[in-house]
Every structure is written in structure tokens, then in C-alpha cells.
Chain length 363, copies 2
């Protein structure tokens, strides 16, 4: 690339060497208009080793602290993949330094913490985007088109999502996502997050009126949730359910039913293949005479992704940030708004679980 | 066919001219070892017209009452497709005449009624089978083999089922399934039945310890349930959910998750095609490095059905009845046992709905 093009790119600074950084750093490297500028770890040696192991650009600034990344005047966006417990502190510090923020999910442990972050982002004119990748896949847009087609889909009635993976015994006791001091929302924050987002997405981000957690959630010895679910309710008889678990074999289903059609996708969060994805949709399924079978069956819709979904995410964030930097653009309020809505649902389920599975009103 | 073969066949007598009789009469006609012997309707003219319209054998005895079918000494099995409210009366009358019974689902409005029928069947040495067809499909047996393979599936953790169809406004107010005087269990008895059976089937018919109905069921103006769901719980952290609705587009999904595998079938109740059915199964789904996709994806398993599932049902019942008639066989207790278990679950959900969605213990 030319020097000029490189100079124009949006520069990402990364806090820490979490596993997910390997995937996101690769995406930043592949994304048009983005570049990795800095990596900070609690030890400079760790940052150096991680950068070398993961083919970071040789010019990447390597720091022995997170604070130095925020102090680097050339950093446009700070990527925060730290344990959730640390998000509030570092997101607010990044905002205070006028850095835009790419925040791993779950963004916060509580809605109160989320709102403190958002208040800080708003005050400092900073863009927030959370790290939910699948909403950036072109398949997601294609599915939304069908759900928004009243002839083919009718009115939305139900959304059902299942997300699970069978974690190892070690994971269930020691992984960050299983530790009350690091990611206290456990499976609900990790994978319940995706189900709640999918439910919101299918509802065109209209919030439900209330939620009731499913009975019999499972906690690990440290009291962190390993398996749970909920039913969300909207007025006018719309409903959604999900179940998320670290204890069942990998399953990532999303089914959306309207009055006239049904959508089903088996790999909604991470497509089986990076460049080819598919989903099933059927409109007006008709029984054969005597109900001996069905006249039609779900069509498989194939969608080509020009770039992996996480690259699309980085490109979208970089586009917004570049326009702001160039004085031509504004904060896009859509991204923080869906982040907050998802956080509200995630925590409403927890509230229901902790109040004997009562119905919790969502305000 | 030879006269001798025809004489040896198990002879079915049908009570009434419900729509479903057309499908089951066709199945009796196709099944090895079975024949339609009699049809009774409240009017002889209606019986004659129905038999002519549906190509019943010309020698079929046509009666202007249900009682005459029971009084026909040549009838071996009485098929009862009447509205559920009438099941107890006619099933007990059939048993008193020593007729074996094929009973449409839901078999009863309450477990108490179910138990009165079973008591009568037991006293008179009569075989009961309910009209749930899909359990007789060879696909079902093939799926059960995989679920029972601990290497491929591990331990059962979750079952999730969705069953819906978007009924017309007229259906929702006037159809038998929507009327409190005829089928007071509404959508729960009609399609919730299939979900409860599927959940039991996946659990090898082990009953859950308790159930909680999902919030926000929907009733029609007459107070009959049009949409509902529930969560069933087993000790050792096993769970099942379902949702059944007359208000959403046709969807018949079943997903079963173990610790090592996931099964998914989209047409579990009525296969898309009569002779070819399929399902998806995956064991040990592995992410690609960096979670850029998945190394493997669900395999589609195809199963050829020699005969439609309802024909397999009639053949199984006829085989049992013929053996009893010939003095070589006994009642098969499996069929009434799963009928009763399904009825218990269907009514436990109703009990939870009517007791403010409390958890109901299943005894």
C-alpha cells in the first residue's frame, strides 16, 4: 500500500492479549481503511511475544501497560477485549482520551455500568461499537429483508434461539467466563448475549415489555451461571425464547416465525464457512391433500460474504470513525443503542433468575 | 388378494367422518394385514356419501350410528377420531365390546378420563394405541439409535420443539379444535401433544420431575388455548422446552442436544415427502482455528420409508391385534404407557397455566 493510504487508515490500539484479539487483529489487518497501531499488555514482554506470534505489523507500537495505548495520540479506536469486570474502567478512560471504542461483549456486568460508559462516550463524542460480529454479515441483512417483507413473512410472532457449547471441566471452573471476579455473567453474558441480540434483531430492535427466566438455571461452584434461558413477551402476542448453555454440544440455532413465513438458520453466530453462508426460509408452507406431506419446503438461500463478518464489523466502525476524524461525520447512535438494549435484556433475565423467576418488566 | 388373506385381516370399524378419517382409511387400505370393515356416522346418508367420496371398499358395512359399529361382531379394532369430549364414552363402550382401540389424539381432556379409559382397556383385555403417526416412521427409530449412542451423542441435555400453523380466523373460532365443548385443550391438545411426545421420546420416555408453563399463553374468545409452551425439567440438569401455536406460520422443529452431539429435524411430525425423510445430526462440532468457522457441519441422514408412517402405525397395531386374536399374543403395554405419559405432560402444562404458571410436580 502507499504511504498516503496507510496514513489515512483508522488506527486501532488493543488492550491486552486475550484469545479473541487474534481473530480481531487479523480482521483489522484485512479491513479496508483500518490498521493495528498499538498493543498494550500488563507486561511488555507479553505484548512483544503476542505480536510476534500473531503476525502483527512490524511497526505496531508495543506497550507494557494499557494506559500507554490510551496515551498514544495516534490511536483512533481502542479495542477492549478485557474481562468484563474491567470494561467500565477502561472504556471510560478511553473515552476521556477521546478514543472511539470497540468493546467486547458482554460490555458490562450491569445496566448501571453500561449507562456510565454511555454517558462518558456521549460526553466525549466517542463512537461505541460492541464486538457482536454476526450482525455485520451480509446474510443478516438478507434475512432482515425477508422478515420485513409482509407478503412473504407476515407479522412477526415468535423467535426461538438456542446457543450452546460443551465446555471442558477446566473451562467451567477456571475460564474467565466462569469466574465471578472476571465475567460474572457467565454463559448468559457470553452466549446468552448472542441470543438476546438475535431476538432483538428479529424484532427490529423493538424492546419486549417483560421477561421471565426459564426455571432450573445451572450455576458452577463459584455461583456463575453455566446454563439458563428466558421467555420475552411483547404486547400483541409476540414471544421469544432462548436457551444458552456451556453444558450441551455446540448448537447455534435461530428460528423466526411470522404469520406467513418461517426463517431458520443453524450457524447464525459463526457461519460454517467464512465466505459462503446460508439460511432457510419458507413462505406459505402448504400441506399436501390428506396431510400426506408438504407441497413446498424451505428454500436454502445462499449469501456470499466479500469479507468475513468480523472484517465487515471493523470496516463499518472504521468508516464511521474516519468520517468523524475528517470532520464530515457524526457518531452513529444505532450501534450504542443496540448495545444498551441487549445489555438490558441480558440483565433482565438475571434479575428474573435472582427474584425467583418472577416476570420482570422492561422499562 | 385371495379370499383367505382378506379373511385373516384385522378389521377396522370407524366412528364418524372426521377429515382425518380420509388419511387413516387410506392407510388401513394400504396396510398389510388390515382392512376397513365398517363406518358409522350419526346419519347413514353421511356415512354412505363419505365412503363413496373416499373410495372405501364396496363391502364396507355402513351404519347410521356409532353403536352399530361396536355391535358388529366382525370388527376387531375401533378407530375413534371423534372430538375429544366424546372419547371417554366411546372408548369405554368399545372396550366393553372387547374391541381394540385406535384413539385419535389428544386421547382425553384430563388424566382422570385417560385413566378411566385405561382401566376399561385393562379390564377387557383391549389394546390401546393413540393416533400419533410419526413415532412409527423408520426415521424415528434411526434418530433414536443415534441418541442412544453415547460415543456420538453423549448424555442428553436439552430438547427444544416448536410446532405451529397459522390457522384461519374461522378455524380459530369455529373449528372443533377451538371449541370448549369439543376439544377444550385447543392447540395444546392438538399440536402441543406432538411436542410433549417428542420430548418424552427423546428422553426415552423418562418422565420429567416438573414443568412450568411459559408465560403469556393466548386464548380465543371462548377461552380455548391457541398458543402456549412450557419448560420441563429432569434432575441431573436436563431440560426441555416447546412452544405450540395456531397463530404462527407452519413450523415443526425438533432439536435434541447431548453433551457430544446435536440432532435437528424440521418436519418431525409429517415428513415433507412420504417415502424419503431426512434429519441432521452432528457429533463433536469443532471450531476452526480463531473460530473462523467450523471444521464439520451437520450430516444429513436420509431414511427411506417402505410405507407412509400412518401405514406403519396401522400395521403395528394390526400385528398386535392379529396375534391376540390368534391366541398367540398379548397386549403390548408400551403403547398405552406412552399415551398416558404424554397425556400427563399435556395436562401438567395446563395445570401450570391455570395456577399462575407455578411449577407443577409430575408424579
Amino acid at each position: 500500500m502507499g504511504e498516503e493510504e496507510a496514513v489515512g487508515r483508522v488506527r486501532f490500539g488493543v488492550l491486552g492479549c486475550a484469545d479473541i484479539v487474534r481473530k480481531v487483529a487479523r480482521a483489522i489487518g484485512m479491513a479496508k481503511g483500518a490498521t493495528i497501531h498499538a498493543l498494550g499488555s500488563r507486561s511488555l514482554e507479553k505484548a512483544k511475544a503476542f505480536a510476534a506470534d500473531n503476525n502483527f505489523p512490524t511497526q505496531t507500537k508495543l506497550y507494557g501497560s494499557y494506559a500507554e495505548v490510551l496515551d498514544d495520540a495516534d490511536v483512533d479506536v481502542v479495542y477492549i477485549p478485557l474481562p468484563t469486570t474491567l470494561h467500565l474502567e477502561w472504556a471510560v478512560k478511553a473515552a476521556q482520551k477521546k478514543k472511539h471504542v470497540l468493546l467486547e461483549k458482554p460490555p458490562a456486568l450491569t445496566v448501571e455500568d453500561m449507562d456510565k460508559m454511555i454517558e462518558s462516550f456521549d460526553r466525549h463524542g466517542v463512537q461505541l461499537m460492541d464486538g457482536t460480529m454476526w450482525v455485520h454479515h451480509p446474510r443478516t441483512a438478507r434475512m432482515a429483508e425477508l422478515l420485513n417483507n409482509p407478503q412473504l413473512f407476515g407479522n412477526l410472532k415468535e423467535v426461538h434461539s438456542i446457543f450452546s457449547y460443551a465446555a471442558s471441566h477446566e473451562f467451567l471452573e477456571k475460564n474467565i467466563r466462569s469466574r465471578p471476579d472476571l465475567d460474572a455473567l457467565g454463559a448468559q453474558g457470553d452466549i446468552g448475549w448472542y441470543c438476546c441480540r438475535a431476538i432483538l434483531w428479529a424484532n427490529d430492535y423493538q424492546m419486549p415489555q417483560n421477561v421471565r427466566a426459564m426455571p432450573a438455571p445451572i450455576f458452577n461452584a463459584a455461583g456463575v451461571i453455566m446454563s439458563c434461558g428466558a421467555t420475552f413477551m411483547w404486547e400483541v402476542g409476540r414471544l421469544a425464547t432462548y436457551h444458552a448453555s456451556f453444558l450441551s454440544h455446540a448448537t447455534t440455532n435461530l428460528t423466526v416465525q411470522g404469520t406467513r413465513g418461517t426463517l431458520h438458520v443453524e450457524d447464525f453466530c459463526i457461519p460454517f464457512e467464512e465466505t459462503n453462508a446460508s439460511f432457510k426460509f419458507i413462505s406459505d408452507m402448504k400441506p399436501k391433500p390428506l396431510f400426506l406431506g408438504w407441497e413446498n419446503r424451505p428454500d436454502e438461500h445462499k449469501v456470499i460474504a466479500e469479507v468475513p463478518q468480523e472484517v465487515a464489523m471493523i470496516e463499518e466502525l472504521s468508516r464511521i470513525v474516519k468520517n468523524i476524524r475528517d470532520g464530515e461525520g457524526k457518531i452513529d447512535p444505532f450501534w450504542p443503542s443496540i448495545t444498551r438494549k441487549t445489555q438490558v435484556l441480558v440483565n433482565a433475565v438475571m434479575e428474573s433468575i435472582h427474584s425467583n423467576f418472577d416476570i420482570v418488566n422492561i422499562t
